[in-house]
């Protein structure tokens, strides 16, 4: 149980949400995902189980504690927006603050700030019915943000929007999240949306958890046919990273090694390329067998290396690897964020990954 995460258990479902991450619950209609999210803030009372927030069980709370929780810690965004048609936008956004008892000037000022975040400045005095679907959901998000909650629950917020607007809203949510770092539980029936937004994804079916993992884990290692069906439509190039494709480099030479030593090591393997690193595993470059053979046998490798080399990082997506592989037949080195060599990828591996 993470320090400020919480654990949700519904019908034998347990999972943990980490602070500041987007946790997506994905499932088809009737899979229990909407019930699950309502159990978190007890809009639906779970009959059995525990919901822990920073170690405190929400199910043990009395009415007043629960109300305070809803007013200050958890806020929710709804599928059909759930806006109040009889209140102006500004009063919709300020609703959560109003029922906390905040005075009008303060809550309106806060509402203005939040509306600016979702780029709806200028619409304060309109009524929800006058706004498009996408704009209405921005109001829904603004209303949830206004109370500055620790946790935000999104119940299929973009399902009612048309595909173009949906994509726009997803990008906007990701941008907002970069600023806000809220802990978000996001419900969706759209697997691609789950892949795009989620740091972790829980796939539900018939009220039970089918698979839990990062988007990449789910796409590359679906646990059963049910999950595999979903992954079929996923553009794998956008999910699979170099990290899961790469293989360890067979011949790694130090920069101080001589050409002769390296040639001998290469000759013992079927490989044609040596990866050169410094003492601290910092990647220096690659040398092919042909380059080595045409060089003086006793010179050290670092004198031969051309400074610029193509490389990928562990987080590079497959779709970005393809143009790299197109340019040359040579393998691509994969580095971590400290520029250390982690492995390599060649055309064959990319083609295998695409073909899967």
């Amino acid at each position: 149980m993470a320090q400020s995460g919480h654990v949700v258990a519904v019908q034998d479902v347990s999972f943990e949400v980490r602070t500041g991450e987007i946790f997506v619950v994905m499932g088809l209609s009737g899979s229990g995902k909407s019930t699950l999210v309502r159990c978190i803030s007890r809009l639906i009372e779970p009959t059995y189980g525990h919901i822990l927030l920073k170690g405190q069980d929400l199910l043990a709370m009395n009415d007043k504690q629960l109300r305070d929780l809803r007013r200050h810690k958890i806020s929710m965004v709804f599928q059909h927006f759930g806006l109040f048609p009889h209140r102006r936008i500004i009063d919709n956004v300020a609703y959560g603050l109003e029922i906390q008892g905040m005075d009008k000037a303060t809550r309106h000022q806060r509402a203005h700030e939040v509306l600016k975040l979702v780029s709806l400045t200028g619409w304060e005095n309109h009524y929800p019915g006058e706004l498009s679907g996408g704009m209405q959901q921005r109001v829904g998000i603004a209303r949830a943000l206004a109370v500055d909650p620790e946790i935000m629950l999104f119940d299929e917020p973009f399902s009612a929007l048309d595909p173009l607007i949906r994509r726009e809203m997803q990008d906007e949510l990701l941008n907002l999240q970069k600023l806000m770092h809220k802990t978000i539980v996001f419900i969706t029936h759209d697997f691609l949306e789950a892949i795009k937004l989620g740091n972790h994804i829980a796939i539900m079916k018939d009220g039970a958890l089918v698979q839990l993992g990062t988007p990449e884990q789910i796409v590359s290692q679906p646990v059963n046919d049910y999950v595999r069906e979903f992954t079929k439509d996923v553009p794998r190039t956008k999910v699979i990273t170099a990290n899961s494709l790469m293989q360890p480099c067979p011949v790694v030479a130090l920069a101080q090694d001589t050409v002769m030593q390296t040639c001998l090591r290469l000759a013992q393997t079927p490989d044609q390329v040596a990866f050169v690193v410094a003492e601290n595993q910092q990647f220096k470059g690659m040398l092919s067998l042909a380059e080595l053979q045409s060089a003086p046998p006793h010179s050290q490798l670092h004198t031969l290396i051309v400074p610029f080399q193509r490389f990928a990082t562990t987080t590079t997506f497959l779709e970005q690897l393809i143009p790299l592989a197109v340019q040359t037949a040579a393998p691509i080195a994969v580095l971590n964020s400290e520029q250390q060599l982690r492995g390599f990828i060649d055309r064959t591996m990319i083609m295998l990954a695409l073909g899967n």
Binding site: S41, L43, L66, R67, D68, L69, R70, R71, H72, I74, S75, M76, F78, H80, F81, G82, L83, F84, P85, H86, R88, Y95, G96, I99, Q100, K104, N125, Y127, G129, E130, R143, V147, L153
Partner: protein, 711 residues
């Protein structure tokens, strides 16, 4: 008029025939064959045992305790604390309210009132409504009924106000506590079906101060829709905003006041509209126990057989109904987004290319702009003034004034008009010299009809012979059959029909209901009334269905018939009772005719509506297969319109029953006569028994026809 909107609910319906067709053979045996055989046997056995109508010995004599209670009230009226400390102060308060409202309305100079109605209409529904309402008010003045109309308006206002302060909170509680709702339901049904004659005397006894009893009687009659539509409105608030409010930690009170009530407002306003229309529907009966105004005018005319005078007062009631109905309806559908109207404001849009129409509309447009400019400048100067006093208040006020600027400017204009007309021109009452009158021509026409239509030539044609024919060949035989049939047979027959329509529960309740008619000692009267109802319903349908079919196929005819129907539903039945009596004699026939007239509108409307709502795709399909218009009507449209038509039959039955009771006044006999005797001969207990019998009959028939329409 309130029924018009009630009709718009169209449930899905199957007639009995479809129900039987759909049953598997064993079920037909079980539900149709065996019961029929049983009923036949029952009939034979009952005849053998010489069981006829419900025995008089079975009368429970419920009237004895009721009369005893009434005796107690009369004896203690002046001394008991219940009256001294509860009913008397309450009556005084109501009397004070009524008096002040009336005095205020009569104190207002007539131009102010007209302007106020105009502005209300303008705000609620635009220029057309404003002009319609103003002309209606003017019409009431021209008929010489200005004072009477305002008295009625005062009565309406107080009654409706009381209905709302009782009805809305009750409605809210009923929405929250389903058990209260289920308890209230039958009580409200009874309030709506119990003839007012029955409770006039008790109301008089409990609230016997001046015109207070008429207010109370009106409240009893008009209260149900206020409660029902509040409950309905709150129940039908979409769940999404309520869940959202809960998710933000709103308390139940915050949800009720902040979300549910504002969103239920259109439904509550529809309740206000229906309450007003119900209250207006009882205005003549209320006059029996002392209400003044238009009701009294109608009643006076009825008593002196002055048809023209009665018609004038009746028309004034129609005019008042138009004003109150259209304005309250407009506000119940009030949508703040649609305030701005563009283009043709007064004339129909298809005149757009016609130059004089364009000039007129352009003129109106200038007036609108002037009004807008005036509103804005007044609002602005008002804000500047407030800002000088206290800046933050002005900031809070700005958005409110932006939305409500119309009311501010209206108030200012009305005040100015008030001062000018009251203190400078010194006008108050509507000028007595401005009159139009239709008394003379109406009376002449009625006399002509009596002389020429009662019997045409020497042949047995005319209204008189028709009346005799209906009595001899329809009403009498049916009444005699119903009165002599063994009572257990009738109980079982009703139960069986109810079972086929809705199942065991309704079967048991209907059977018990029929037995109760006997226990109340009202068997004979109920059978008499039932025979009148059946004859009226059959005649209504024979007339209504062809008219409805015609209206569905001809738009011009539909518009015409709609006007006539609106008129027929609003004009008090008492207005046309007199000419009907002149033409058809005293007896049961005038009651039948009056109830047919009153019951035609829903039957015609719903037939028309049902036929018009048939999916055009299906009609197209029928035509594509080469159907003739008649084939399309009978094979496609009619079956599909049946749900709506069945609902029309339900409404017809209910309205016929209500009217046949009123017809007790003109010799209708049966339960109606008993109810009215309760009033005129001071037999409250007996009247109450008759009232209960009517409620029972009404509920059985309502549930039965509704179940048939839904099953």
């Amino acid at each position: 008029m309130w029924t018009i909107r009630k009709e718009l609910r169209t449930p899905v319906v199957h007639p009995l025939a479809i129900y039987i067709n759909a049953m598997p053979p064993t079920d037909i045996k079980r539900h149709i064959f065996w019961p029929l055989l049983g009923l036949g046997l029952l009939l034979i056995i009952a005849w053998g045992l010489a069981i006829g109508p419900f025995p008089a010995a079975g009368n429970l004599h419920l009237d004895v305790p009721i009369d005893a209670l009434q005796g107690w009230v009369i004896a203690n009226r002046l001394t008991h604390p219940l009256f001294l400390w509860f009913f008397d102060p309450l009556s005084n308060a109501i009397d004070f309210g009524l008096r002040s409202t009336e005095d205020f309305l009569l104190w207002l100079p007539w131009p102010v009132l007209m302007l106020a109605i105009f502005l209300l209409g303008q705000r609620g529904g635009g220029l057309r409504l404003a002009l319609l309402a103003t002309i209606s008010l003017l019409f009431m003045g021209l008929l010489g009924l200005w004072t009477a109309s305002l008295q009625t308006l005062a009565l309406m206002s107080i009654s409706v106000f009381i209905c709302l302060i009782i009805g809305i909170p009750l409605g809210i509680f009923a929405a929250r506590y389903p058990r209260l709702d289920t308890t209230l339901r039958p009580i409200l049904d009874a309030m709506q079906t119990m003839p007012a004659f029955v409770y006039l005397i008790p109301v008089l006894l409990f609230f016997g101060i001046a015109r207070v009893p008429s207010v109370v009687a009106t409240v009893i009659y008009a209260l149900p829709p206020a409660i029902r539509l509040t409950t309905l409105g709150i129940r039908h608030v979409p769940l999404a905003p309520i869940e959202a409010a809960r998710s933000f930690g709103a308390t139940r009170q915050q949800i009720l006041w902040g979300i549910q009530l504002p969103l239920a407002l259109p439904s509550i306003m529809a309740g206000v509209n229906q309450t007003i229309m119900m209250a207006l529907g009882i205005v003549v009966i209320a006059a029996i126990i002392g209400a003044g105004g238009l009701g009294k005018e109608v009643l006076n005319a009825l008593q002196r057989l002055k048809v023209g005078q009665g018609l004038e007062a009746g028309l004034a009631i129609v005019a008042l109904a138009i004003i109150l109905d259209r304005i309250s309806y407009a506000f119940s559908r009030f949508d703040r987004r649609n305030i701005v109207q563009v283009g043709f404001r007064l004339l129909p849009r298809h005149l757009e290319t016609f130059p004089p129409a364009q000039w007129l509309e352009r003129g109106i447009d200038y007036l609108y702009r002037l009004g807008q400019w005036l509103t804005q400048s007044v609002t602005k100067s008002c804000l500047i003034f407030v800002k000088a006093l206290h800046a933050p208040t002005a900031d809070d006020l700005a958005p409110i004034l932006q939305e409500r600027g119309f009311w501010l400017i209206s108030l200012i204009i009305l005040t100015i008009t008030l001062f000018i007309s009251k203190y400078i021109l010194q006008i108050s009452q509507f000028p007595a010299t401005w009159t139009i009158s239709i008394r003379q021509p109406t009376d002449t026409a009625v006399v002509w009809m009596r002389d020429n239509l009662y019997q045409i030539g020497d042949w047995p044609i005319g209204t008189g012979p028709l009346s005799d024919f209906v009595t001899l060949y329809a009403l009498n035989p049916l009444r005699d059959v119903l009165m002599t049939v063994p009572w257990p047979f009738l109980v079982m027959l009703t139960a069986w029909l109810a079972f086929l329509a809705a199942g065991k529960r309704l079967a048991v309740l209907s059977g018990l209901g029929i037995i109760t008619l006997g226990l109340l000692g009202m068997w004979e009267q109920s059978m008499n009334t039932l025979s009148q109802v059946i004859v009226s319903v059959i005649f209504s349908l024979i007339i209504a269905l062809p008219i409805g079919i015609m209206a569905a196929h001809n738009d011009t005819f539909e518009i015409l018939i709609r006007l006539v129907l609106d008129f027929l539903q609003t004009i008090p039945i008492f207005v046309y009772l007199v000419p009907v009596i002149m033409l058809f004699n005293i007896g049961r026939v005038p009651g039948v005719i009056a109830s047919i007239v009153y019951a035609l509108p829903p039957a015609i409307r719903l037939t028309n509506l049902g036929l018009r709502q048939v999916d055009p795709g299906l009609i197209e399909a029928a035509l594509a297969y080469g159907s003739t218009p008649a084939q399309t009507l009978w094979k496609v449209k009619f079956p599909l319109a049946l749900p709506s038509i069945m609902l029309g039959i339900n409404q017809t039955v209910m309205m016929v029953l209500a009217t046949v009771i009123t017809a007790g006044l003109v010799g209708g006999g049966g339960l109606g006569l008993e109810a009215i005797n309760g009033l005129t001969r001071n037999q409250t207990g007996r009247g109450f028994e008759a009232g209960l019998a009517i409620v029972i009959l009404a509920m059985i028939m309502d549930r039965l026809t509704q179940a048939l329409a839904k099953s």
